[in-house]
């Protein structure tokens, strides 16, 4: 019998594999989300983000590997897990015939920790009319209603699956601010997936990158920033291909002028380039977007069969 305790690791995924027919949606994924803070999951469309989240919520049962949420198997013990996990998604599928008041009244019954005052405060903060049917709300307001229900019982873990996808900037801002406020005030753990990298970069403490069902990068955001650099360099002589340095993610250019994406410490990069006689024009930390693209291209090149 698993034990649901507040001190348990919020999300622990080990060697998770999931296949849909011949497609391998998740390939030996291992991940651990520590308590408190925002954990961002990045990946392009179809990378496996939603599949991973559905495993975390117990909607998919692992074909191989294990998933533990707050110390429990979410597929076997959904009541224990879901009573401590809030969830918001672009596709939450709220029943359109309910109005906002009915939605909160219905949802409150399932959570012993439901805070009515907090729910009322959130409703005012998110500017939601309790008498309006959900199907008559705009997409942004529907997302806010979903967030209200996800936060009002003060969950230990908040799972957000591309919550602001397709929303207008104002709604995105409102939702993200509300989430950040709850994290700041209550030290909540947030697991957050998005393909909008600037959004992930803005609110996440830690990030993981998923590509074709595999975790290609995982760590603290600051560490990633400090270990990924973009350098404009000039080779001593014209070259058709960049040398195969360790840590080199991507090289773009021709002739003598090249742009190199590099993973590693700044000193190590400088030493490597100087020893090769390469002149460094400019070196700066990569943005998350650049890291993401460089990692994807590197994976694609490495999986491409040799010519």
């Amino acid at each position: 019998m698993s034990n649901l305790s507040a001190s348990a690791i919020p999300i622990q995924v080990k060697a998770l594999t999931c296949c849909f027919g011949r497609t391998r949606a998740l390939d030996n994924v291992s991940l651990e989300v520590p308590r408190s803070g925002v954990f961002g999951l990045m990946g392009e469309n179809g990378a496996g983000k939603t599949t991973l989240i559905k495993h975390i919520l117990g909607l998919y049962r692992p074909a191989a590997g294990t998933v533990r949420v707050l110390g429990c198997d979410p597929a076997s013990e959904p009541v224990k897990v879901l009573s401590r996990v809030g969830y918001l998604s672009e596709f939450l599928d709220l029943p359109g015939w309910m109005n906002v008041g009915e939605l909160t009244r219905y949802s409150a019954a399932f959570y012993p920790t439901w805070d009515r005052d907090y729910a009322a405060a959130l409703r005012h903060q998110l500017d939601l009319d309790p008498t309006v049917r959900l199907r008559n709300l705009s997409k942004g307001q529907q997302a806010k209603a979903g967030l209200l229900v996800a936060l009002a019982f003060r969950p230990d873990l908040l799972v957000l699956d591309e919550p602001s996808s397709g929303l207008d900037p104002v709604a995105r801002r409102d939702i993200l601010e509300t989430i950040l406020l709850s994290v700041a005030q209550e030290g909540r753990t947030v697991f957050f997936s998005s393909h909008l990298l600037d959004e992930v970069e803005r609110i996440s403490d830690r990030v993981a990158m998923i590509h074709r069902g595999q975790i290609t990068l995982c760590g603290k955001l600051d560490e990633i920033r400090h270990t990924h650099f973009l350098a404009r360099v000039r080779f001593a002589s014209a070259s058709t291909a960049a040398p195969q340095w360790a840590g080199l993610l991507e090289a773009k250019g021709s002739g003598q002028d090249w742009e190199l994406s590099w993973s590693g410490s700044a000193e190590a990069i400088d030493n490597e380039l100087h020893s090769a006689g390469v002149e460094i024009g400019q070196r700066r930390p990569m943005t998350l977007n650049e890291v993401f693209l460089a990692r994807i291209r590197q994976t694609e090149q490495s999986s491409r069969p040799p010519m």
């Binding site: 224990k80 219905y106 409150a108 008498t131």
Partner: protein
């Protein structure tokens, strides 16, 4: 068309899309036709001529429904998950006319072709062969109307449900009762004119459907942007004041509220609409005389069951208003176990069923109170109540209401396990099969049974097989129930109290159904007991557990979304089975404590023991076939003890007519009832019917059934004559005779001779009359005419012509006409006995001198018919006196004979006064014991 060939037109692309989406379904439909054709030719052709041949029509129903499904050509709307015309097509550079006409017209053409193929290849050998053209047109029109409704009413969910049902009902009505759509003035027109008018009506309906669909889809195409912008309007700045609602006290209450708001109200609401329609327009249209009132009340009473069957199928899915089969994310993510979700469905079904029955009762009261004529209903009630004590009436009434509630509830929840599975293919196949069984095969079988009567079909039913099947089903059910509930308990999917509570409800409900079956079902033992066994099977005990498992599989596993594709393949089935087997909880049995399970197991074992005991008793009480000379006789043997009482039926009676007597006597002595050759379940013999032959067959059958002599023969009517012949052939084996109204009359030759002598002037007319009737009844007719003429002898001559006319009418229009009609459905053995009555009477008389000196009891029934005039009363009295005199004359030959007369019975003493017959036999047994 291969995937590489270019599609040159939008119409071709649309056809290709429909074909690609449902190609396996189309192939299955058209592959079923030659298969069913072979089966139909085989079962309908001699020598089979199986009565089940009509079931060859059933697959057509399935294929027609599947075709409607394939050509629905809808997709879920993004906002409300309701099936609407595919919005994605609106952005294509194709005219709306093309978008509408291609699926609609191709569907209509294919529907027509499908029916023509079925009619010409499959239905042709079946009787009666159906028409080809009109049903094909009806099917095409129905498909077009169906598409027009679902495309034209994208937001009115209930509206299109009811409108589809209404149009479908009208077309099915026309299919079953041709010319129903025609004006009354055309009833006398030629078939060609009627067909032309009807085709025109259907053509106009098709055109109207097409135009309506075209207009509706055009409007949807052009207002789509407006609809989209409406959906993104911000909420009002000044919200309306809200009515304060108290919070739910428990998740169960909240879930029940959700179920009610989602679909719980549908059932009582549908019944209310139908009931109000019956009370208003329907009763006005048909006019509520006594018969129509009775019919309407009957239909209204059955409506809850029919509606529950229908809604139970379609509302079994995770979300009634969505065309997707997966559990909505909103529900999946509630911290509520699958067990609670399923139980909420069951609770809501119970509330819906109770409300539905209340609504139905109110509507019936409204119908009868407003304009109904309840006189016939009242008469039927009185006739029914006459045979039952007030206590039994009350008990049956209460149990009947509870049973109606339970069965309605059953129909609402029985398909949940399929609906919640998430498998659209499984759901579609199960739905179509259930629909065909409940709404086509069931009514057809009931109608067939009622048309032929119990006497016809009862001997045809292999009762022992039925008993074995029902018992086996119950044992399998108990085993599966034990397995499922044990699995659920050990995985803590439900609490022990919840499981025990459901089991208790099931036991109580089943006890109610069984008690009702025992109290209210027909008196034949095997029929009643079979109904009782059915009572054990009626309520679901396995399927609630399966529903929970399938919901778990759907909620926690990836499953295919989408509708419209029959995706039930062996691979898919294996996948579903694998879901159960690879249930992650299988390896984590969390509560090994088995004490609550022992209670459930003990209940299952106890109930199984009850059912097995019942089945064993029933097995003995079921007639079986015994070898006789040249064939087999159907024989029922009950009880132990000597002598063996053998019951000989009258000419038309079967084993069942002796049931009250046999059941009572079986407590004391071995009793055998049987059916003579060519009647009921006994095989027709090759040789001609004669009493001696029948006696030899009976003797052989008794020996083969290990029923040892001595025999106490009990004969009713013509059976008494056969008993006397048997006694004369085997005098040493007969211990006593009990004769109930034995025939002492004359033969037809003697009647003819009397008529020649005393009524020569009427004889020619009588013989002319007789030529109008079948040859089997002419001898009987002569005797009846003579009896009628005899009655006239003591009348005032002036009254004779008038009374003669009345009596002759009775003979011709009543007795002989009725017998002629009966002959059509009469067993060949009974018809042969009618034909050879003279031979039976002559052999009977010849047997009298050889009768053994044994105790004899003769019972004479002297009850007069329901006559009204004084003249008729005196005539019947005269005939009764003549019968009594003849019986006394015969008894004078038998020194050890005893005579019993009764005024409570006429010609059917065994049926009218079984207690008198039992007492006569028991008293004879006492005499035998003394001697």
């Amino acid at each position: 068309m291969t995937s590489h060939s270019a599609i040159r037109s939008p119409a071709g692309a649309l056809v290709w899309e429909i074909w690609t989406a449902h190609r396996f379904g189309f192939l299955a439909i058209f592959a079923a036709i030659p298969l069913c054709a072979v089966v139909a030719h085989w079962v309908a052709a001699p020598p089979q001529n199986l009565p089940w041949a009509q079931f060859a029509r059933l697959p057509f129903i399935g294929s027609a429904l599947a075709l409607f499904l394939f050509f629905s050509f809808t997709e879920p709307s993004s906002s409300e998950k309701l099936a609407v015309f595919p919005v994605r097509l609106f952005s294509l550079p194709v005219r709306t006319l093309t978008l509408v006409s291609v699926p609609m017209l191709s569907g209509a053409v294919l529907a027509g072709v499908l029916y023509v193929l079925w009619a010409t290849l499959v239905f042709a050998p079946l009787e009666p062969a159906p028409p080809v053209f009109m049903p094909a047109l009806l099917l095409s029109t129905g498909l077009m109307a169906h598409l027009a409704i679902i495309w034209g009413l994208p937001r009115l969910r209930l509206g299109r449900l009811f409108l589809s049902g209404g149009v479908g009902s009208v077309l099915i009505w026309e299919l079953l009762f041709p010319d129903a759509l025609l004006p009354a003035g055309l009833a006398t027109a030629t078939p060609a004119v009627r067909s032309l008018v009807e085709s025109s009506v259907l053509g106009v309906l098709s055109m109207a459907s097409f135009c309506a669909a075209w207009l509706a889809v055009s409007r949807q195409r052009h207002v789509q942007m407006r609809e989209t912008s409406r959906a993104t309007l911000p909420c009002p700045a000044n919200p309306r004041p809200t009515r304060a609602q108290s919070p739910f006290t428990s998740p169960r209450q909240a879930q029940l509220w959700l179920e009610w708001r989602c679909h719980g109200w549908l059932f009582p609401m549908a019944l209310l609409v139908l009931g109000l329609a019956a009370a208003g327009p329907v009763s006005t249209a048909v006019g509520l005389d006594a018969i129509n009132s009775l019919k309407l009340v009957g239909w209204l009473s059955l409506t809850p069951l029919a509606m529950a069957t229908l809604l139970g199928k379609v509302a079994a899915v995770p979300d009634f208003w969505s065309c997707e089969m997966v559990v909505p994310l909103f529900i999946s993510l509630r911290p509520q176990s699958c067990g609670e979700l399923v139980l909420a469905r069951f609770r809501m079904a119970a509330i819906s069923a109770a409300l539905g029955l209340v609504v139905t009762a109110a509507c019936i009261t409204l119908v009868l109170g407003l304009r109904g004529n309840s006189s016939l209903l009242w008469q039927l009630w009185q006739a029914w109540a006459l045979e039952r004590s007030p206590t039994a009436q009350g008990l049956i009434g209460i149990l009947g209401l509870v049973a109606l509630f339970l069965l309605t509830w059953r129909q609402l929840v029985i398909s949940l396990y399929v609906g919640l599975s998430g498998s659209s293919g499984l759901f579609a196949v199960a739905g179509i099969t259930s629909f065909a069984l409940w709404f086509v095969a069931g009514p057809w079988a009931i109608n067939w049974a009622l048309e032929h009567g119990v006497d016809y079909w009862e001997p045809l039913v292999p009762w022992r097989l039925v008993v074995a099947l029902l018992t086996g089903l119950f044992l399998v059910k108990m085993f599966l129930a034990w397995w499922v509930w044990r699995l659920l308990y050990r995985r803590q999917a439900l609490r022990a109290a919840q499981i025990a509570g459901y089991w208790l409800l099931w036991v109580l409900g089943t006890a109610c159904l069984v008690a009702l079956a025992e109290l209210a079902s027909p008196g034949f033992s095997w029929v009643r007991r079979s109904v009782t066994l059915l009572g054990f099977l009626a309520l679901p005990i396995v399927r609630p557990g399966l529903a929970l498992l399938t919901l778990e599989a759907n909620r926690h596993q990836p499953s295919s979304a989408g509708i419209g594709l029959i995706s039930l393949t062996p691979v898919r089935l294996l996948h579903l089975i694998n879901k159960f087997r690879s249930h992650p909880l299988a390896g984590s049995e969390q509560n090994p404590s088995s004490s609550p399970l022992l209670g459930l197991g003990a209940t299952a074992v106890g109930l199984s023991a009850v059912v097995v005991c019942l089945a064993v008793r029933l097995w003995d009480a079921v007639p079986h076939l015994v070898e006789a000379e040249g064939g087999q006789l159907r024989l029922l043997q009950l009880g132990q003890g000597r002598p063996t009482v053998v019951l000989e039926s009258d000419v038309l009676s079967l084993i069942e007519s002796w049931w009250p007597v046999q059941r009572e006597l079986a407590q004391t002595v071995r009793v055998i009832s049987y059916e003579r050759s060519g009647r009921g379940g006994s095989s027709p013999m090759a040789f001609a019917m004669s009493p001696k032959t029948a006696a030899r067959q009976l003797h052989a059958a008794l020996l083969n059934a290990h029923a040892p002599p001595p025999y106490l023969l009990v004969g009713d009517g013509l059976g008494a004559a056969l008993a006397r012949v048997f006694a004369s052939l085997y005098p040493s084996e007969v211990a006593a005779l009990v004769l109930l109204d034995p025939p002492q009359g004359e033969t037809s030759d003697e009647a003819l001779a009397w008529l020649k002598q005393h009524r020569p002037e009427q004889l020619t007319q009588i013989q002319e009359w007789l030529t109008k009737f079948p040859v089997q009844v002419r001898g009987y007719g002569l005797r009846e005419f003579k009896r009628a003429e005899l009655k006239l002898d003591k009348l005032n001559p002036a009254a004779i012509p008038r009374v003669r006319s009345v009596l002759w009418d009775e003979v011709t229009d009543g007795t002989l006409y009725g017998m002629g009609v009966q002959l059509g459905g009469m067993a060949p053995g009974s018809a042969a006995e009618f034909e050879h009555t003279d031979q039976i009477l002559l052999e009977d008389r010849a047997a009298w001198p050889a009768l053994p000196r044994v105790p004899v009891v003769l019972v004479t029934g002297l009850k007069r018919g329901l006559r009204t005039s004084v003249e008729r009363d005196s005539l019947d009295e005269e005939l009764a006196a003549q019968k009594l005199a003849r019986h006394r004359e015969w008894l004078n030959r038998m020194p050890e004979a005893r005579h019993i007369t009764t005024l409570e019975s006429g010609g059917k003493i065994a049926a009218d006064q079984p207690e008198l017959v039992v007492e006569a036999i028991l008293s004879t047994l006492r005499v035998l014991k003394k001697s």
